[in-house]
């Protein structure tokens, strides 16, 4: 008897590789960024040399008018070339993704082809087959056909995205190839992007995060790529947008600053402000590179990746605004948002991103296996230092609290159907900022952690926070001088300062162990105040447990108190601290 087993054909016949060379494309973008810088220099220079001493009269008036027009025209041309350069950067980023997807499809096809070859060999080798064997062959064949079919669908999708990416870049070039376009307000903006950004709900239009999310959901994939390339400032700060979209847009802006301002620096035409922006960009680039290279402690083969969630290097007179995450904010089950304190500006981003890696590591290493993302968020104008008068008042914290609340609202809206367990962590003045954001019902977080806190701002008690007192945690190193600046109780500080000490009995939060084995015999503002996220420390261990959603497992510490008969007391002062002790201060995997 002859039995027929229909073995599916190997399809698609070919998985076509996306065309283009990402390295060469990056080089082209750099050339364009440099050209954009030159046009900006032209515009700036024409403006600068308008004032030529006491020269006056008709000739000077003519010169001034001509140089003014030249300045305006070249400024517009600079913007257009920047848009095109950003378009090339965005194209290249997408091309890299497509090339990776292509490699994955090739790998899948190789696997299917191997299965197909084995199936044919098994069929050919079979003699005197039973009904069961025939059924098994048929089942393998059906499964293989289904898998090939899925591969064809995936390949179709890949080729569609390739076409869309190329079409978008073509439109970018075509929207800027005449002189009229080059000096117009929307030179280099492809029509696809323009129509998308003008729809209701676009970021930067005053829409709520929920409306922004709905706007994004209504765009096609091609439109999303188009607005990322053409309007990276608006997408990069769009509260409510997926973090991946913000990351893509902000990386376009980062590449722009790095290439354009480096060229200006080389030309000797960079201004003092631009130099600060360039330094901010360079530090951000380092931080991102570190985050991108970081490997998961439980599976060194996995890189959780970095995300540039906020990038605004010119904000606050060059102090900058930035947020870098370790892990995927769009999908992580546990998300932490860390707000720093005084003296923090954008040049601190590298060190703080390292600390976010420590926190990620601690959370995963001692965790329940859930996915994690930890974000350093500098979205407010932190006071410059102890001598900055802003440090003594809560104004910056109050404003920062509003900004933090907006950021949290944006994160929540971006994944409303899949909410993360979200922890807001504030350090030093950032704990006051976090308190402003979290007191009352202003933000939707699950846990609040205050470390090295000089005061909880508007919250007099843990129960004043929207999360409820059981979800407010406090870390205080007994030697941390800054953490003694809050109002500790009986006598208090007569209303001066940044609010109540959250480690105190009166505040009644859950205090966790946060002593440092290298602690000094006296209080200080250095190591004792800046080691809360050090690896293998008690503090980092406990914060990791909270971020993982297991705050009930922290190692508690007795609250400080202020008796009527003497100065404030800290029961942790005499306890022997630990380091690298499992279940207490071990936060790092042996690698």
């Amino acid at each position: 008897m002859t039995v027929t087993i229909e073995v599916p054909a190997s399809v698609p016949a070919q998985v076509k590789k996306p065309e283009g060379d990402a390295g060469g494309s990056d080089a082209l973008a750099t050339t364009l960024y440099e050209a954009a810088g030159r046009y900006e220099e032209f515009a700036d220079r024409a403006q600068e040399v308008q004032d030529l001493g006491s020269w006056a009269g008709v000739a000077y008036a003519a010169y001034k008018e001509a140089s003014g027009t030249a300045s305006t025209e070249h400024a517009a041309m600079g913007v257009t070339v920047r848009r095109v350069a950003r378009g090339v950067t965005a194209f290249t980023d997408t091309l890299r993704d497509l090339l990776r997807d292509h490699d994955d499809l090739l790998e899948r096809k190789r696997g299917l082809d191997d299965r197909r070859t084995t199936l044919i060999a098994d069929i050919d080798a079979a003699v005197d087959v039973t009904e069961a064997q025939v059924a098994a062959f048929r089942e393998r064949s059906v499964d293989l056909r289904a898998d090939y079919s899925e591969l064809v669908t995936a390949d179709d999708d890949l080729q569609r995205r390739v076409r869309e990416n190329e079409t978008l870049l073509r439109q970018v070039f075509q929207a800027a190839d005449t002189l009229a376009e080059s000096t117009s307000a929307d030179g280099g903006v492809p029509p696809l992007a323009e129509s998308a950004i003008n729809r209701p709900g676009a970021p930067g239009s005053g829409a709520t995060p929920e409306e922004v999310k709905a706007w994004w959901d209504g765009l096609t994939e091609a439109e999303r790529e188009a607005v990322i390339a053409a309007y990276p400032e608006r997408i990069g700060q769009g509260d409510g947008l997926p973090s991946d979209a913000r990351d893509q847009a902000n990386r376009v802006l980062l590449d722009d600053d790095l290439a354009r301002l480096a060229a200006k620096s080389e030309d000797g035409t960079i201004s003092a402000t631009e130099r600060r922006i360039l330094e901010n960009a360079q530090r951000t680039q380092e931080a991102l590179a570190n985050a991108d290279a970081y490997t998961d402690p439980l599976d060194p083969g996995v890189k959780p990746g970095g995300q540039l969630w906020l990038y605004d290097p010119a904000a606050y007179d060059g102090d900058g605004r930035v947020a870098v995450a370790v892990g995927d904010l769009d999908t992580a089950a546990d998300v932490a948002v860390f707000t720093p304190g005084i003296s923090t500006d954008m040049t601190s981003v590298t060190g703080y991103t390292d600390q976010m890696m420590n926190l990620y590591e601690s959370t995963r290493y001692n965790g329940d296996g859930s996915s994690v993302a930890t974000m350093f968020w500098l979205g407010y104008d932190a006071p410059d230092g102890p001598t900055d008068l802003a440090t003594l008042t809560e104004g910056r914290a109050e404003e920062g609290g509003r900004n933090l609340a907006d950021a949290i609202d944006g994160l929540r809206a971006s994944r409303a159907d899949d909410p993360a367990h979200l922890t807001a962590i504030g350090h030093s003045y950032g704990s006051t900022t976090t308190s402003y954001a979290a007191h009352g019902d202003t933000i939707d977080v699950d846990d609040v952690v205050l470390i090295g806190s000089p005061g909880a701002g508007p919250a007099d008690r843990a129960s004043d926070f929207g999360v409820g007192e059981d979800h407010v945690y406090v870390g205080r190193d007994s030697r941390d001088f800054v953490a003694t600046l809050g109002d500790e109780g009986w006598i208090g500080k007569f209303g001066i300062g940044l609010g109540t000490d959250p480690s105190s009995e009166d505040f009644d939060a859950t205090r966790f162990e946060a002593e440092d084995v290298d602690r000094s015999w006296h209080r200080n503002t250095d190591e004792a105040h800046s080691s809360y996220l050090d690896s293998d420390s008690e503090s980092l261990y406990n914060i990791g447990r909270i971020v993982d959603g297991h705050g009930e497992d922290v190692n508690g510490a007795a609250q400080s108190y202020d008796p009527w008969w003497g100065p404030p007391q800290d029961p942790e002062w005499d306890r022997d601290p630990t380091a690298d002790q499992p279940g207490r201060s071990d936060t790092t995997a042996d690698r």
Partner: protein, 103 residues
């Protein structure tokens, strides 16, 4: 502050130098854009990219011309001031020679 004319000439020279630098930068930009290749891009994009690069190399060259124009105008202004100053100086010197006890 020294001689007002010297000071004024100095500011004009400063302006001229700035425009000369810009002229050089735009020339370099024109060369960079003219020499940039679209070969790294997919074939479906290359024509648009090449057209863009050619056009913008031309724009940059025109910008260099504009900067050169400013250089020329400022130099002419400075030269005219200088020439005029010298001529008037001579006229008053001649006039001065005809005045005084020798008259």
């Amino acid at each position: 502050m020294g001689d007002p004319l010297v000071w004024q000439m100095e500011t004009l020279r400063r302006g001229t130098t700035a425009w000369e630098s810009q002229e050089e930068l735009m020339d370099a930009t024109a060369r960079a854009l003219g020499g940039a290749s679209s070969a790294a891009l997919p074939p479906s994009v290359q024509a648009a990219a090449t057209s863009f690069l050619t056009g913008w190399a031309g724009h940059a060259g025109e910008s260099a011309e504009i900067a050169r124009g400013f250089v020329g105008a400022l130099q002419a202004t400075a030269d005219d001031y200088s020439t005029s100053e010298d001529a008037v100086d001579r006229q008053f010197s001649d006039l001065g020679a005809r005045l005084g006890p020798a008259r």
